[in-house]
């Protein structure tokens, strides 16, 4: 997909149209998946539509020629994190009667949308005022594993190490929280 986007940028107007069509397709899929996430009643359906959102976001990353992020999004997000969430949803064996009763869900969501609309409009306005230069051609190595890795291990070395500590703390915390029964025995 990266290649498609790049080629289309280099070639004529017809192929630029193709990249635009891909952008529209991924955007529609992402927004529909997100809408499904907030509106489905059963968390399993929500998780499935969230996976659609994540995969279309990976496509958007590819269109932005972020190759490493594209792969990481698919492997870590759509693969690992979502399978963890779906595993827990299935592990808890949620039936329809276990779900919280939300009779006023539609009303709540309408009120919520009215509350959020000003924030969204404000952000849209801010986005419109960002000066954008439409550089269509980037370096072919932009966003590759080597380039991002070099940056990660030179300029961002300290945050990277701190993230490793964060993951260790989260691991220990999850074991302490979820493994309580074993400790009591």
């Amino acid at each position: 997909m990266v290649h498609l986007a790049k080629k289309s940028i280099k070639k004529g107007a017809l192929d630029i149209m193709f990249a635009d069509w891909l952008f529209i397709l991924f955007t529609v899929c992402a927004v529909l998946g997100a809408a499904g996430l907030v509106s489905f009643r059963h968390p399993m359906n929500s998780a499935m539509s969230f996976v659609v959102t994540l995969i279309s976001l990976a496509g958007l990353y590819a269109l932005l020629s972020a190759k490493l992020i594209f792969a990481t999004q698919l492997i870590v997000y759509a693969g690992a994190i979502m399978s963890l969430i779906i595993f827990i949803i299935m592990f808890l064996n949620i039936q329809n009667e276990d779900l919280p009763v939300e009779e006023g869900r539609l009303k709540n969501m309408t009120i919520g949308a009215v509350l959020i609309a000003p924030i969204g409009l404000f952000l849209m306005k801010v986005v419109k005022q960002i000066p954008g230069s439409d550089t269509v051609v980037v370096d072919p190595n932009f966003g590759g594993v080597k380039e991002v890795g070099q940056l990660l291990f030179s300029k961002w070395l300290l945050p990277f190490e701190i993230v490793s500590i964060l993951l260790l703390v989260a691991l220990v915390g999850a074991v302490v929280l979820a493994g309580k029964r074993g400790i009591n025995k």
Binding site: T27, V31, A34, L37, V38, F40, R41, P43, S46, A47, T53, L57, L60, Y61, L64, A66, L68, I69, Q73, V76, Y77, I81, L84, I85, I89, L92, I94, D98, L99, P100, E102, I111, G112, L115, I116, I119, G120, L123, V127, I130, D134, T135, V138, D139, F142, V148, L151, K155, W156, P159, F160, V163, L166, L167, A170, L171, G173, A174, L177, A178
Partner: protein, 98 residues
């Protein structure tokens, strides 16, 4: 071109916020938070394409690591609460005592 990506990011962020404030199912709320993190990621990557520097990519990787840690901890808490109360309602979880 970059503006349309940022618009998508804003839309996804708003949908995530809507899910957090209007739903009561704890899994839906959790996945809405993940959606907001993803919207922020998309903004990072779009900005790094705009400025043609790859710092945004590194930050997006960091956000993914934080999301993974958050997922592990949040799911452990959800399992514990489900064991205690047998429910998935965030209103039931508002009293965390005992």
């Amino acid at each position: 071109m970059i503006h349309s990506y940022l618009m998508v990011s804003v839309i996804l962020f708003c949908i995530g916020m809507l899910g957090v404030i209007s739903r009561r199912n704890v899994f839906t709320v959790f996945m809405s938070i993940e959606l907001m993190l993803n919207a922020a990621n998309l903004a990072f990557v779009a900005f790094s394409r705009l400025h043609e520097s790859m710092d945004g990519h590194v930050l997006a990787l960091m956000v993914m690591a934080v999301a993974a840690a958050e997922a592990a901890l949040a799911l452990a808490v959800v399992i514990l609460l489900h064991k205690h109360k047998g429910k998935l309602d965030t209103n039931v979880f508002s009293l965390l005592k005992g």
